[in-house]
Amino acid sequence: MIDFSRIPKKFIPLSFLMLPQIVLGEKSDLNMPVGVTEVSKSIFDLHMLIMWICVWIGVVVFGIMFWSLWKYRKSKGAVPSKVDDHFWLEVSWTVAATLILVFMAIPSTTVMIKAYDDTEGDINILVTGYQWKWHYKYLEDNIDFFSNLSTSQEQIDNLVPKGEFYLMEVDEPLVIPINKRIRFLITGNDVIHSWWVPDFAVKQDAIPGFINTAWTNVPEPGIFRGACTELCGIRHAFMPVVVRAVEQEEYDAWVVEKIALAEEERLLTEKVWSEAELVERGQGVYQVNCVACHQANGKGVPPVFPALDGSEIVMNDKQRNIEILMEGVQGAAMQSFANQLSEVDLAAVITYTRKSWSNGQGGDDEIVVPKDIVEYKNKADL
């Protein structure tokens, strides 16, 4: 047994106070991240201030309560008092509570005004939530791309060991320069999503038909990881946000490279594709975009996600097959990929599904080339 009487009395309250400090210290994984921006730091300070006020109110109220329970217990022969009301006591604790709240409201309002600012940024980025990925469009440079989860389905299904950034990694992060005012214009394509980067203290709902704004100004380079925080369907947990903040020069170089890549991609549509090339490319597209629902073996999860393996449409109805990818399926989870994938990727992934599993033998063996997709688009425009 520990002899409590030998601990100097003054250390007892001290050690009690140290405990939350240790648990909730700045470097702790158990507290709100301090973040890197001015706003996130002031929000952290505000959070700590409010929390400590609550802790102290709790200590006082619970202290009095437990002391009363101990002191006035019936087993010690306590006799109940006859006093059951006291006007000025009621008034004074009402006033005290009000004053504490006013004291809390002042810094909260200041921080809120600082965080709330929808003026134009140095760089303006349109963030669109899709089921279940993010799309980023740089309004000044006309760059745009999707950002998909890059953790493999095998890791999620516990077939292989999980990586360090399990469910917090994407194929293509958002890239922003440091020390620039970045304004995010946030919207949703299908259902409501919410775009959150804890280190920036930015969380804003991505709502179809609305464009919300948020902003940040990141003072240091780094990789910052966030998540979707509004329930958006089956893959809600699988559409993380990753932002890479870089020096201005690196950012400029990235922009040039992205523009060149986009041009290259455009030229690919003109190219004559062989079946083998399409299948190879299509497999990659399938892994990123389709595997979550239709599964790696093409069996799907019927009835919610139909099987592609052995599907009559995939094997023998090329036109309907293209149509489904372009338009989605009304009333089902299948969405339109017309604006999400390039013509090449659409052709490649359709070809891949027509050639894979048992479909290669069982079907009409037709492939889809980028030109088919362009033709479909032209026809649809009429």
Binding site: M32, C54, P80, D84, A97, T109, M112, V191, I207, G233
Partner: protein
């Protein structure tokens, strides 16, 4: 004339009918109260089993037990069942049992309506739960069913869900009408409003809240129905509609609903604290004013659930201030409970233990609620496990502990037998420890950044989630003990006196009746001085 009097006498002495018809056709407030309580107990285990599925899946990262599609159905139905199938019916059950006895009435004012409002409930939940067995699966869009996830993107079974919500709403409205009518018309002579027991007060206010907001919920689901089947676009942006409108309507219902789920517990706790402190409640009138203020404020705080939808600055600040104001009446209630204990003569029977835990743990939920009211900080808390921790603190050691405390407090009155005190204390300590093991770590996981409604999560959250899951399994199993204790108290036990607890006759009419009370409670109206 004399024949009429005789017939009346016969009527006055009849007991319950025999067999199943007693329960199907009963118009007796106690029988209906019992039905409500058993129904809610059954739902507790169904909703609890769903929570166990959720916690089993979240025990470690990766998908191992259920797929995300089913996981979402579990979170959604767990929420719906616990809110509409457990907490609310349990409070209505307690109201049915206790209100006529506390105001000195023979029964509820509208006994046939009472029967209807109960029997609507099994139908509503039968429909809801049956959707889980349909090919398209049950509702999977969260208990808050935000459009367009719940309209354009919902499974086909959403129509059953909508119908089920309509039926639940009808049941609540009918129940509330009955409660208000009973309280306003059937009080014993001398029992003025400002002398009414606090449980009756809390239910009077709750019933008004229900009548005010249940039609709003019905409106929301009707608009969903129109969007899904009749081509309207209330919530469909592509048709010129507004998905945020749904949230405004939902939370205009939803926030008063939050208080519907806690106010009756305030009433129960007040009675228990005064009984076991052997001292009348401190500041009775300020308790009544606090209840009223909370109810009124509940109509002007709804958008604090929506701080991240992109409201203008003025809107964000308004809802922050109005939400902070709620801390004042709530604080007053806590101070009054503590002041009742102060200089009392306190004993620690099971109901009191649950009541003390309620005061402490509900207050912790109140603190996290205050933190969530601070808009800029809410940008970080919103939709994380911090919110899950917050509302489970007010609903489990809050509302549910309030109900359990009420059951322990009144079950000797209902059955005529004392429950087993040793088992009761065991049940309390197991529940108290496991409820904190379950919900306290959720604060930290949430602050560290784990969003809610996730079937799978990043590796840094693994340890705490395993911990939370273990806590929840203990809590779940512990509630089977409550079932055992209740059954034991119905079948056997020490005979309970009319007063049950020491000195209660002085401050409650229900304690002047014998235990168990006669079938028609007060056949002669008591006089209150």
């Amino acid at each position: 004339m004399s024949t009429i009097v005789e017939t009346h006498d016969d009527h006055g002495h009849h007991g319950p009918a025999k067999g199943l018809t007693r329960w199907l056709f009963t118009t007796n407030h106690k029988d209906i109260g019992t039905l409500y309580l058993w129904f809610s107990f059954l739902m507790l285990f169904i909703g609890g089993a769903m929570a166990m599925v959720i916690r089993a899946e979240l025990f470690s990262p990766g998908l191992q037990i259920v797929q995300p599609e089913f996981f979402n159905q579990m979170t959604t139905n767990h929420g719906l069942i616990m809110v509409f199938g457990v907490i609310m019916p349990a409070f209505v059950g307690l109201a049915n049992w206790m209100i006529p006895m506390q105001i000195g009435a023979p029964d509820m004012a509208l006994p046939r309506l009472n029967n209807l409002s109960f029997w609507l409930l099994p139908m509503a939940f039968g429909i809801l739960i049956s959707t889980l067995f349909m090919p398209a699966g049950g509702p999977n869009f969260g208990w808050t069913f935000y459009a367009p996830l719940s309209t354009t993107y919902a499974p086909d079974t959403v129509t059953f869900f909508i119908f089920s919500v309509h039926v639940m709403g009808a049941s609540s409205i009918l129940g509330s009408i009955n409660i208000i009518t009973t309280i306003l018309n059937m009080r014993a002579p001398g029992l003025t409003l400002m002398k009414m027991p606090l449980f009756v007060w809390s239910w009077l206010i709750t019933a008004y809240l229900l009548i005010a907001v249940m039609p709003v919920l019905a409106g929301a689901v009707t608009m969903m129905l129109m969007d899904i089947h009749f081509g309207t676009s209330f919530f469909n942006a592509a048709g010129g509609g507004d998905p945020v409108l749904f949230q405004h309507i939902f939370w205009f219902f939803g926030h008063p609903e939050v208080y519907i789920m806690i106010l009756p517990a305030f009433g129960i706790i007040s009675h228990i604290v005064e009984t076991f402190s052997r001292k009348p409640i401190f500041g009775y009138s300020s308790m009544v004013y606090a209840l009223t203020s909370i109810a009124i404020l509940s109509f002007v705080v709804w958008a604090h659930h929506m701080f991240t939808v992109g409201m203008p600055l003025a809107g964000e600040l308004f809802f922050m201030y109005s939400t902070m104001l709620i801390a004042i009446p709530t604080g007053v209630k806590v101070f009054n409970w503590v002041a009742t204990m102060f200089r009392g003569s306190i004993s620690f029977e099971t109901p009191m233990l649950f009541a003390i835990a309620f005061v402490a743990l509900f207050t912790i939920g109140g603190f996290s609620g205050l933190m969530l009211a601070i808009v800029p900080a809410d940008f970080q808390y919103h939709d994380t496990y911090f919110v899950v921790a917050h509302f489970h603190y007010v609903l489990v050691p809050g509302a549910l502990f309030g109900i359990i405390a009420g059951v322990y407090y009144w079950i000797p009155k209902w059955t005529g037998y004392m429950y087993d005190e040793t088992l009761g204390k065991l049940h309390f300590w197991l529940s108290f420890i496991s409820v904190n093991l379950t919900f306290f770590p959720m604060h930290f996981v949430g602050l560290a950044g784990m969003p809610r409604r996730y079937p799978d999560y990043a590796l840094q959250f693994a340890d705490f989630n395993a911990f939370v899951s273990v806590g929840s399994f203990i809590f779940g199993v512990t509630q089977l003990l409550l079932l055992f204790i209740v059954i034991k108290a119905i079948r056997s036990g020490k005979k309970a006196s009319g007063e049950v607890w020491e000195g209660t006759k002085e401050w409650g009419l229900e304690w002047t009746l014998e235990s168990p009370p006669p079938y028609h409670s007060f056949t002669v109206q008591p006089e209150v001085k």
